[in-house]
Symmetry: C2
């Protein structure tokens, strides 16, 4: 039987999963806004980031209260500490989705993404969606095998990221400096988004195993 304290701990997990839903939606719409130069969609992502921020703040407040009143130890302490970290990573992923939407808005009605890079950004968007979906499942299920899959998805993102630079630096590039800047920044946002998803997955591994496989967090 669960007491109120353990209900609260379980509630943290539910709210983290809720954050992953909001972040997935933001990134999915942000990518579409970027590819289709959809101003209305971009504005909706920008406006709704406040919701992610609010959830993050509420989670932090709950965690601080829980720590102060319940003084969790052992696995419960790991639960609250990782929840704090994961909430911060998810909040940042929301910011990155917002940055992508802002890029779409800045270039509207033009598109920031030239035709020859469209497919790469479609793929980066799909990987991003995959990452956050898996991160949400990991948080809910504490499945560490799934957590390890995110490292591979991150590698897939890095390959797309490197492809961007190859295209930008090829002799055929004809879209000038402004487009190159946009793509450099957009590429960085997707890459950082993937890094934060991997951090979430690593925190699930830490939560379950009590050790950190690897601490070399890159980015």
């Amino acid at each position: 039987m669960r007491d109120a304290y353990h209900e609260e701990l379980a509630g943290l997990t539910d709210r983290l999963v809720e954050m992953t839903r909001l972040v997935r939606s933001a990134m999915s719409r942000g990518t579409t806004a970027l590819l289709d130069s959809d101003l209305q969609l971009a504005e909706s992502v920008i406006a709704q980031d406040a919701e992610v921020d609010r959830l993050h703040m509420e989670l932090e407040t709950s965690i601080y209260e829980l720590m102060a009143t319940q003084q969790p130890v052992a696995v419960d302490l790991r639960t609250v500490i990782t929840a704090l970290r994961m909430a911060a990573d998810l909040e940042r992923m929301g910011d990155l989705a917002e940055h992508i939407a802002k890029l779409a808005r800045m270039r509207h009605p033009e598109s920031a993404i030239p035709a020859e890079l469209r497919e790469t950004f479609v793929e980066m968007g799909a990987i991003a969606e995959n990452l956050i979906t898996k991160a949400g499942s990991c948080i809910a299920s504490r499945d560490i095998d799934l957590a390890k899959e995110l490292e591979e998805d991150d590698d897939a993102m890095d390959r797309r990221h490197r492809r961007l630079f190859r295209v930008l630096l090829s002799k055929d590039w004809e879209h000038g400096i402004e487009a190159a800047i946009d793509i450099t920044l957009a590429g960085r946002y997707y890459e950082r988004y993937a890094d934060h998803a991997v951090r979430v997955a690593r925190d699930v591994v830490y939560l379950v195993t009590g050790t950190r496989d690897t601490d070399a967090l890159t980015g």
Copy 2:
């Protein structure tokens, strides 16, 4: 009189200040490496980031142990929670200094920074150094007036960052796409470095006052 527990809490502050010293040194050398295309200096920054990472991991471990064994409450709880957050921000600032050094290394023996942007990067380096020095003083002194100064320094960084784009997008830009990509990324690293310094300062304010003036962390 201080007991062992309060010695440990004070020790967290000392180690955070030590992290700021390492990060300041990394950023200062990273900037010089970037401006002077100094390969040896760049390599030293890249190699020494492991030291920042090690300090970060040690701090985290100490904090988890302290939480588990001492179950801090009230201001002591705020001390450990903010120490966790500040350590993470400082670790990330070390990464960003390393990224700048890697950019210097990648372009060596060329310089990634064309002459007309040299002065702007000198200024960004100086602001970065100022920010981390003040962040270290804030952590040590818990001086919230000083903490507020960091917001202004961050604004000064943002102005330099916008100047970069004006130069990149001017008709006079003659350094091509590769240099534009380098400068876009370098600019982003300095800007994010400043954001993390501001987060540290805001955590000092939270530590002292128990409230967050503003939670809208941007980047």
